[in-house]
Symmetry: C2
Subunit: 470 residues, 2 copies
């Protein structure tokens, strides 16, 4: 046993200890389950030389990884927020406005009532046996909670589920997909995940063998391809044609296509194209980012490859059950005739129309700025305005050892408290500079944001304006 | 832009499509946000030869990974369960008993009421403004929900949090750790995670640079070091000494120590030893496996290394908020004087004493079997009985191209519907054979399980009994 442990020993040690409070039911010797012999002082371990754990000795892949939407600028914003709390008035603004990430509820958007009713009832099912509950919850939320509990083996909302997620919930999601697309979907192709990011990681882990394997992605791309870019490019006519073009391209080139929620109407036949379709509850009008629910639908891969995906999924046991339930809810919202239907539709419509108003207002504001051009949001919760920066500003950025768009974003933050992401984090045409900003601040704050933005930009241009424009 | 995309193109393609139903607010051309030019038919991509995605062409590391607790035997059990549903009476048992994984609520254990009350109130905070709520929820659950909502920026339970988790919840957890151990803990050292497994993955990703980096771990070890082995070895006196021995050993050898919840009483000083301590809400008497909550406490690493850990954490944005809340609850349960205190303690004590009774009954049962020796559970929710198998059985296993313990486990499942894990999945002294079984089946089913187990083992030994014993 010593040899067995020693042969594998190099740099890490796994232990398994218990705090006194979480301690054993019946104290007693541990030797049976814990081999202490290898840990004697004369262990051959002493022959090894271990590097200390420093940034130089960790996995270089981790060092290389950059994540713009939560990168340096966000850390700086968090520092500023701390300073505002400790020293009010220490900055020319009284709050930080996080426009760096699609996080609607952090900026005041309220959750859809029906979804939260059902989640609460599933978290505390004892409520379902109480009369008072009917005064507090809509009848269809109560009915839905019963339906969902009946889909969960032993109604155990606190148990690990099947590693792909609760079968009944995957079946409900498959029904939702089929109703949406008019094409059948199969519960066995669906893997429920803690949001889209872990699903993307899972597929990267499965597919990427080495640096020789590459990824072709749209520019601008979303770092690590989380759910957020999904609302981009949701443009019919033209774009559907283009999307079919891409599907055809992948089929011809033998590429694996990984994409946010693809409608069957894109014309992929399923088995003739390896396709992984991601969906997240953080996406869409409901914006339930903190619930970390989502799924991926895997089609066009052989059953033995899917077994490997299942194995990777099983290593983390299962995704969180509340997220699994919420995924089934967003794919099966209240229907005509349900008690909640009208209030649900009203909540949904108000969110979508408000987003459209905010998108238009911010788009117009960006386009009104000197040297800034901004496309329509096209259904995105983001804008990606291009900055035509003066040479003096670009030189100032070089002097500050940062990219011009990062320099602009940092200056914007310091002057206004508005947090945006430099376009360089998303990939942009070399020599062009952009920032990405969400359209999510509360509608009543938009006018103030716009005037702060305009004032900053004017001052910035006054500082750097020159003849040459990048 | 084409070149930029093409240079990186090899085998995968990232797309970003929208289903019609989740489509744009305002339709329009997509070209602005989606560069379709690279996808024209004469793209240089055609020069590449792409391997089809098969088990042979995926990441070999994934193929190598084995995960016993959800491995082949569990897939087989799921098949049997299906057959029982479709063809009742098709097997000599009428239900599958999953003793392969520590999943208490899947086997009838009820969640702690107070924890679920608070989760439900946080999922649907509108309840807090209603009078009827006081008839349905305990006053301290209502008070705790208010406290927690006030810790969450804008009370947004549906928002992405700080990547380490909500600051206020981490502070509450640090207080809980300090009260438990009598040593201070720092909220900035705490990273909230979706259970312990993702935290372990995060640290493996950070620390393992190549096959040259190894891991020294206790035998039997838990595959991928999830929370479950934690309840093992929670044995005072002797084991605390041994644990201090290990801590001292790591300090001397410059090892990174990764372990389940370590009490400061283990004598580690914090900064002189790199230590990562994992905790999960699936662990402990509450057994909230499906909530996927947990945290790791990182001490003894430099701030720039911790920045790298933060970066890895930020890539998945944040862990699920319900799990974050639950983590703060299990570390700060009701206290003397709270309305829920007595019912909480009663629920906790009943769970723990029932677990102790079940552990004793199953331990005695295993020890009563011919050629089987079983140690005490020692506070674990598992038993790890050793099987002294007849040579004929070992030969039969060889003929079936499987390990003797896997062969025994498979035969046990086919005969009784009881799912246990072969010891080979946990590491065992070469030449010895074990099975791992949880003690979690409902107490009223234990007698039936024991008689099924005894009948199977007798028949198995009658089939294979010989002179030589392994």
């Amino acid at each position: 046993m010593r040899r067995l442990a020693m042969d594998r020993a190099k740099r890490l040690l796994f232990g398994s200890f218990l705090s006194s409070s979480q301690s054993s039911l019946t104290p007693g010797p541990a030797s049976s389950c814990f081999p202490f012999s290898p840990f004697s002082s004369e262990a051959p371990m002493s022959l090894y030389k271990f590097p200390p754990v420093t940034v130089e000795t960790i996995n270089p892949k981790v060092k290389r990884c950059e994540y713009a939407v939560r990168g340096e600028i966000v850390s700086h914003a968090q520092r500023l927020q701390q300073e505002l709390q400790t020293k009010p008035g220490s900055h020319p603004f009284d709050e930080i406005l996080y426009c760096n990430i699609g996080n609607p509820q952090a900026l005041g958007q309220q959750p859809i009532t029906f979804f939260r009713e059902v989640l609460a009832l599933c978290d505390y099912p004892a409520l379902l046996d109480r009369d008072e509950t009917h005064a507090l919850f809509s009848s269809d939320a109560i009915a839905r909670a019963w339906e969902i509990l009946d889909l969960i083996p032993d109604r155990a909302t606190g148990a690990y589920s099947h590693s792909q997620g609760i079968k009944g919930l995957r079946e409900a999601i498959a029904v939702g997909i089929a109703e949406r697309d008019g094409f059948p979907a199969n519960a066995d192709d669906i893997f429920l995940t803690d949001g889209a990011s872990p699903a993307v990681h899972m597929m990267m882990q499965l597919l990427i063998r080495s640096e020789k394997d590459g990824i072709l992605c749209p520019i601008p791309q979303y770092p690590l391809y989380s759910a957020s870019i999904a609302l981009h490019g949701g443009c019919l006519v033209l774009s559907e044609e283009n999307q079919k073009e891409i599907v055809e391209f992948c089929r011809k080139e033998g590429l694996v296509l990984l994409a946010d929620e693809i409608s069957r109407s894109m014309g992929y036949g399923g088995d003739d194209l390896p396709l992984i379709s991601f969906q997240s509850v953080s996406k869409g009008y409901y914006g339930e980012c903190g619930k970390r629910g989502g799924y991926m639908e895997v089609t066009g891969l052989s059953s033995d490859v899917k077994e490997q995906i299942y194995k990777v999924a099983s290593v983390n046991l299962c995704s969180n059950i509340s997220g699994q339930i919420l995924s089934s809810l967003v794919m099966n919202p209240p229907k005509v005739g349900d008690e909640s239907y009208e209030s649900y539709m009203a909540e949904k419509d108000e969110i979508l129309s408000s987003l459209a108003r905010r998108a238009k207002a911010l788009e117009d504001a960006f386009n009104s700025l000197e040297g800034v051009t901004c496309n329509k949001a096209e259904g995105a919760m983001y804008l990606f305005p291009r900055l035509h920066l003066p040479q003096k500003a670009i030189k100032a950025a070089e002097a500050a050892k940062t990219a011009p768009d990062a320099y602009y974003a940092r200056r914007l933050l310091d002057a206004t408290g508005i947090v945006v992401v430099p376009g360089s984090g998303f990939g942009q045409v070399p020599g062009t500079w952009h920032i990405r900003s969400t359209i999510l601040p509360p509608e009543d704050k938009i006018p103030a944001i716009i005037s702060r933005l305009k004032a900053f930009h004017e001052a910035f241009m006054d500082e750097f304006r020159d003849q040459g424009v990048a």
